[in-house]
Every structure is written in C-alpha cells, then in structure tokens.
C-alpha cells in the first residue's frame, strides 16, 4: 500500500466554510441535542465551520490499513496475555498485570471492541501516532457533527457513523439489555460522552445505570450487579491504569478478567493502549507488518544518547496530549529537568521519532495539522474523528472538524 506525499497533497484539504447562520444552527444543535457541552476553549470555537475533505481512494486506503492493524492487534493481544513477561515492557502497572492473569488460556470470547487509530499526514506518507485501544472518545463529534455538516456539502459523504455502529454492536449481543456505564468523575468531555452513549442505548430499549466508582458494582459468577440487578453489558469508560489506582477491595480487577457480563472495552484492551507497544514488534511471533509500517520508529528512552530533538517522549499511558514532551520545543533548563525525570522512569516512557506533519490551511489563513482518528468496531472501519491542532501535538486545545469523503468514485453522481 503506497500512501505517499503526492497522495496527501492532492487528497486532503479543508472545504469551504459553512455560512455563519447554517453553522450556528449546527453548533446549537450539537450543544442542546447532541451532548456537545464544551464548544469553546478560551477565545476559540472547538468546532470548525470547515469540513476536512479526503478523497475516497485515500479513505479506502486508510480504512483498509486500520483494519489490518486491528487484526494484528487482536492476535498480539492473545500473545501478550499468554506471555506476561512482555506485559512488563509495556509499563503496565503491576496490579493490572495481576488482574489480567485470568485471561491465560481463557480465549477472548464474544465481546465488543472499539479501537481508534490516529493517522497524521506526514512528509513520509500517513503515520499513526498512537492507537486508542482502551477508552477511545470523540463519538458525538464523529457521528452527529459529521452527519450535520454533510447535509451542507453535496458531492461528499460521511466516512460512517461510529455511534450507530456501536449501538448495533451492543444490541446484537443481547436484546434490550441492562447496561451499566462506568466513568471517571471530573472530566466534562467524559461526562458528555457517557450521557450521550446512555441516551443512545435507552433509545434502543436498554435500561441504563451510571456509576462513577467500581465499588458500586458487586460481582457474582462473572456477572456484574448494579443495584442488585445483573448487568448484561458494562461500558467501561474509565481508563484501565486509573482503575488500577483503586484498592483491590473495590472490585475493579473483575473487569479485567473473563466475565459473563460483557465488558466493553474488555480489560485486555489496556495492553495495546501502552505507547510502549512498538518496542515489542520484534518479540511477537504473530505478524505486525501493518503496525510496523504505520507507526514511527520507537525506542526506549535510555537508548536515545543524542539528537533528542528528533524525538517525542510519551508516557506509556497518556491521554489527549498530556505527558507528551517535545524536547525541541523546550529551553535548556526544562529539557534537563524533563530528561532527568524520564530517565528515572524510563520504563514508563517511550521515545517516538518525530515526523513532519503536513498542514492544511483554514479560511482564516491559519495552518492546522490534522489528526484523523479512524474507528474500528469489531474489526471493521466505522468512521473517523478529526482534530486539528495549531502545533505539532494534538492536545486538549485541538479543534474538531467533520471528515467528509469526496464522492469521486467511478460512477458516482
């Protein structure tokens, strides 16, 4: 698969801005009907009035690439569960490693798995900065915002609707299930997302309960109980490494072993969430070719002796750009402090070779660097979540856009 520079330059662009009135209506619908409760950061609107438009050929290539990587991850997860010595390399907290032991020889069974691969257009072709394997977010923006924007751009289509696909996957497991949604308090974007997922499930006749602490569940024979009622599905919107900070007596380890209640994402998803996963490519007996081709080179921080400005340092478990360090952007003092910190905990960090992202130009003239998060649900590509940053790191200040696919296929109207 060739995803070179020419392809990117020709095939990825920002479409024209939607007129102010039309965009204002969409923004208000997102806020009042679609759980987008954080539409503004400082002086900037979080939602961009221009869609990102990708050629159908490139979208097909990215979708295929994401499915190949998802298949490879599924096979190496089994290997990781059978070879706990590899888990240590991932920087996985010890309590999580212990909790995952229950999977040994258990088989992964039927479940519901969501992944999101974050693609970046670079001078060397498309690169994947990370896979959101454990708790991927962005559902309302990638589903509802994209659909609302698409109505105004004839000649384009959406790349899918992740939340519709998720809903279908949930309801195909059990009809009219009783579901619990576990999430961490204190995070507005998580609160709005779980409220959204809860409402989607209720539309399908599910009975939904929310919980913010694993101790609100009791466990019996692999079933999770909430308010004395067994749950068919437990939506775990709570990062594995955060849960591992609770005392064992809170019962969180149940979620990380085989269960009768379908836990999604399953506990073993935390393995591929580690940013240190690429350090293991050569250790796996299963193929990792698509992953190796897509990820930048990664090294243990201890192996970086010079030229650290060519590298990005990431904590093994980090979210939305927190704990991502670019030495090239730091002054000497800060760089020394960070270097000492990372060297002291090098088994919790990874060095990823920097790539040169290619920007798109907004109608305001500002250069924006796109990150295309391609969702996979149970092995199939179902949509994409776009964030655009003003700098080299996609963090909480990134703005969000709809990804639309140019309907340039042969035979398209």
């Amino acid at each position: 698969m060739e995803l070179g520079l020419a392809t990117i330059n020709n095939d990825l662009r920002l479409g024209p801005a939607l007129n102010a009135e039309g965009f204002s209506i969409i923004r208000r619908r997102m806020m009042l009907d679609h759980f987008k409760w954080d539409p503004q950061i400082g002086d900037e609107s979080v939602l961009l009035e221009q869609p990102l438009i990708l050629s159908s050929k490139t979208w097909a290539e990215l979708a295929t690439r994401a499915e190949l990587m998802a298949a490879e991850i599924a096979s190496i997860e089994i290997e990781l569960l059978e070879r706990p010595e590899l888990q240590t390399v991932l920087g996985l907290p010890a309590p999580l490693q212990r909790a995952l032991r229950g999977w040994a020889n258990a088989g992964l069974g039927v479940g519901l798995r969501v992944l999101r691969f974050d693609f970046h257009a670079t001078a060397e072709g498309w690169k994947v900065s990370e896979v959101n394997s454990d708790v991927p977010g962005g559902f309302t923006e990638s589903s509802n915002f994209t659909a609302l924007m698409a109505e105004h751009y004839p000649g384009t289509r959406t790349p899918g609707n992740p939340v519709q696909a998720w809903k279908c996957a949930v309801t195909s497991l059990r009809s009219g299930p009783r579901a619990g949604i576990l999430y961490a308090s204190g995070y507005p974007e998580d609160q709005q997302l779980v409220s959204f997922l809860g409402s989607v499930l209720e539309e399908e006749g599910c009975r939904v309960g929310f919980l913010q602490h694993p101790q609100q569940l009791s466990w019996q024979n692999g079933w999770a109980y909430l308010d004395q009622q067994p749950l068919d599905i437990l939506v775990r919107f709570f990062q594995g490494e955060w849960l591992a900070e609770f005392p064992i007596r809170s019962g969180w380890p149940h979620m990380f072993g085989p269960t009768q209640t379908v836990v999604t994402n399953p506990g073993y998803s935390v393995l591929a969430e580690s940013k240190r996963l690429p350090l293991l490519w050569e250790s796996f007996s299963n193929p990792t070719r698509a992953l190796e081709e897509s990820f930048p080179q990664c090294l243990d921080p201890r192996d970086i002796e010079s030229g650290e400005e060519d590298w990005v340092f990431k904590a093994a478990f980090s979210n939305t750009g927190d704990d991502v360090v670019l030495p090239a952007l730091l002054g000497n003092d800060a760089r020394r402090r960070i270097r000492r910190h990372i060297q002291r905990q090098s088994d919790k960090w990874v060095a990823q070779r920097r790539f040169v992202s290619l920007p798109v130009t907004a109608s305001s003239g500002v250069l924006l660097y796109p990150c295309l998060g391609v969702y996979i649900i149970n092995g199939r590509t179902v949509g994409a979540y776009v964030r655009l940053s003003r700098g080299p790191v996609t963090d909480y200040r990134a703005i969000e856009a709809a990804l639309l696919i140019a309907d340039d296929r042969e035979g398209a109207p």
């Binding site: 009042l32 409760w37 539409p39 400082g42 809860g198 209720e202 308010d227």
Partner: protein, 269 residues
Amino acid sequence: MNKEQVYSVWAPEGCVWSKWAKPVLFAYITDNTRMLGDSEPEEWGKSVPAATLDTGMVIDLDGPRGVFLGVRIARKGYCPVPLYNACPREKLTPSPDDPVRLGLIDSEDLTPQGSAPVVEVSSIVSALAGAADELRGLNVPCSAPPAFLLDWRRGGVGKQVSIGMFDNRSVIFPSDFPSAAFLKDRGIRTMVVASETHVPEFDLASVLREWKAAGLDVRIQVSGPIWAPKPISLPEPSWVRRAAFWLHSHLGLQRNFSGGYGRVRRGSG
C-alpha cells in the same frame, strides 16, 4: 419556552459573549422543568451602578442567586453570560418507570437510581428557565458588557461526598472565559467580582490572576447593600496550595473523590 428558546434568550445570536455561555444546564430543560422566580429582597443589587462599556463582572454567588442578580443587573445594561458547567443529573430524561415519569416526584428532585448530586444545580436550571421571559423583554444590547455567572458552590463547598453520589462538582479554568486580550479589545478595562466571600475560590483566583497580570483592573465586591468594589489581592499561591489545586483537578478525582467535574480537559483519547 423550550430549551432552544431559553438558550437563545441567555445566549442571543449575534451577541459577542454568547459563545462562552455553557450549554449543559439548558440541555436539561424539559416540559417538566419548574420555573423558579427571584425571591431575593427587592433592594438587593440596587446599588450596582448602571453598566459602562469598560467594566465587566463575574457573579460568583450561591446557586440561583447568581441568576437572580444576573437579571437584575441586565436591567442596568449588563449582558449576563451563564458559565454553569455541572450536570444536574446523569440522564437528560428519566426512565419510563421512574417516579418522575409517573408524576410522583418532580423531575428536578432526583437522579436515576436515587443517587443524589453532590452539587444541587437543578434550582439554577429552574431559575434560568424562570427568568427567560423577563430577560427576553429587556432586549439587552449586543454591545453590553458581560457579567459571567458562576455557582459559588461548584466545588462542593460544605458537602461530604460518598460512593454512589453523583459527583458533579466542577472547577473553572481561564479557558472557560475570554482572554484578557479579547476583553481589552472589546474595551473592557475593569472586571468586578461579586462574591459571597472576600476571597475568591482557588479556581476563580487563577482566572483573575491571569487577567490582572495582563493589565486588567480586578476588583471584588462582597454581596451587601453598599456597592464599593475593592482592589483584589491575588498573591501567587504557595506551593502547598498549587499542589492541592493540581491534585484536586487532576488526581484526586480518581483516587479519593476529592476532585470534581470541571474543564480539566484531560479525558480519554
């Protein structure tokens, strides 16, 4: 009025400050939302002078009192901007077999599974809905200076939090407000905080500190009969205070429920 209409009153199209209005409480307005009227004494807020284009306000008062004062000073030419950021409950509408749906309990009085919210904000929802008619009639001009409305109890003041409660505490960050540069560009030179106490909460203090460092004159007025805002002292917090804030907004949430629901912006990827 439905939720769209109420929101349009509080965040009118074309008003420069509307984009900062937080939508979450408006999303919870339903046909069952009760209207809460202003029950404060008639004299309250009368001492606030008429708006001038160079002075904005932050109203940091307990629960619906912020809404009430917001409307009272809208009569004097200010543009109230709700910055309430906490969820009243986890579900937008109650389940079909909930007592609310059956008409046994008011929808604002309970959350699903009977889990009580740490911070009671349903009265603010009711106050926003209840004041919408009057605010619409005031026709606040688009050029009016802003008055940002906050709930003084957003951090869970005086509340014990236990497992099973709906933890909806919130903190605010500078990114919840316009920048000092934006305010100055709009002609704002002074920001007055109307507060329940002489010392702003740690999260608001961090916002005010940024504004002050950027050259805005920041003053505070404790709720009372005489309007005489005083210059505010905002010393850099001690390392203990900074550490406590960091823990409060980053770590405590998962570890011991000492944090809250706010724009920590550190959620899942």
